[in-house]
Amino acid sequence: MPLRLLKFGFSKTYPEPRMFRSPDRLKSSYDAVIIGGGGHGLAAAYYLSRDHGMNNIAVLERGYIGSGNTGRNTTIIRSNYLTPEGVKFYDQSVQLWQDLSVDFDLNLFYSTRGHFTLAHTDASVRTMRWRAEVNKHYGIDSELVAPEDVKAACPEMDLNCGGHTPVLGALYHAPGSIARHDAVAWGYGRGADQRGVEIHQQTEVVGIQVEADRVTGVATSRGQIATPRVLCAVAGFTPRLLQMVNLPSPIYVHPLQAMVSEPMKPWLDPIIVSGSLHVYVSQTARGELVMGASLDPYELHASRSTLEFAEGLSAQMLELFPFLSHVKIVRQWAGMADMTPDFAPIMGKTPIAGFYLDAGWGTWGFKATPVCGKTMAYTVANDKNHELIQDFSLDRFKRYELVGEKGAASVGH
């Protein structure tokens, strides 16, 4: 049997279907080049080719598709943010998510679970109420609930948290969901590829040519490309790319770590988040608990993991779920989060004509993948910022018009 399986595996008659082609060489010019083959870059390529009729596009990826933060996040999707700018933007994204599996003809395992953000202090109860009211004003399903409601949805939780930080209430967001993150990159990649977009993996950008404040080309590890438009969607690599075009920015890079437990029978339906305990956790379809905490406390351009993180997060998890004390951690990893001073992204046009930025997505980028792709595609195609992203432009810092998004995950407020 194993031998037959092996023969089948190598047989040319039934080749394994590929999600997208691997073109063997770069063309000398493209209408647009997208740097970064993660969810955001591929989504932009997909919407550019589908909605704006641009298909002479190359997506350049230094590693492989989805190897960056698209494949490293904890897959939570929600829109219960605090600022009106944030709420409107993420709500669009949640709506797009819901149709994405059909759009791609690919199962993303999009699973609506409900999302509890626990409040352990009076101050956080107040903030939750504020967030609930802002959300409701914009028609988003979000409300403040009592500890008993949390207990009803998640009976395994110790609401006393060992006695020191009892749960006083929670912000409940019914549309909160999880999805399989690699499939998102593959789905967008396949959709873009079918419409003529070229995806070049193992292709690193080593320079960007700018003449008279206008982009003219990109130098890569596999040759030179001429192009009038470049979209930079590279998350933690943004400062390195911005250095190539000499643009200053307030982005700083910190690692964000996460880990998963061994698989268990399903017991945790909702997504549980606690800002005070620095924990967010959900259970995947495979039964693993996916857990994250907070940003590493200092700047670092590496995706290394630390034992302090695994120990610290486990201790916090045990405050909430003491019965997990015998469960083992099987993997931990990190991604490079590109943070901004106001916890909001930096998107749209820049002082360099033809150079578009989709960055500053720090710890909150996965949930925004579809709407980023859509708005950035519009921005690149029309050379005009989409109205949903106008508040997120790079020059807001020059004007002191910060967004102040305190609903962001994994950051202390």
Binding site: Q243, P248, S249, P297, E299, L300, H301, R304, K398, Y400
Partner: protein, 85 residues
Amino acid sequence: MKQMICPINGTRPIVEFTCGGDLQSMPDPHCGDTVWADYIFNRNNAPTIKQEWWCHTPSNTWFIAKRNTLTDEVLCTYLYGQEDV
């Protein structure tokens, strides 16, 4: 656990330290809004060897560390103004 050398207290575990951000010089406060915004927000944050403010939290000792932000190697630490001592 990773360790760092505090110029006063010697080698201590990294969790006892807090990073206070880049060492930079303040422009004249009357420099105008654009220069000021550039000072408070913008950084060249590509990986490099940086001089940063660090604090040993239990003893509240502020000092400067030279650190490679790509490899997380701390090259040296010294009290502010005493680099060559």
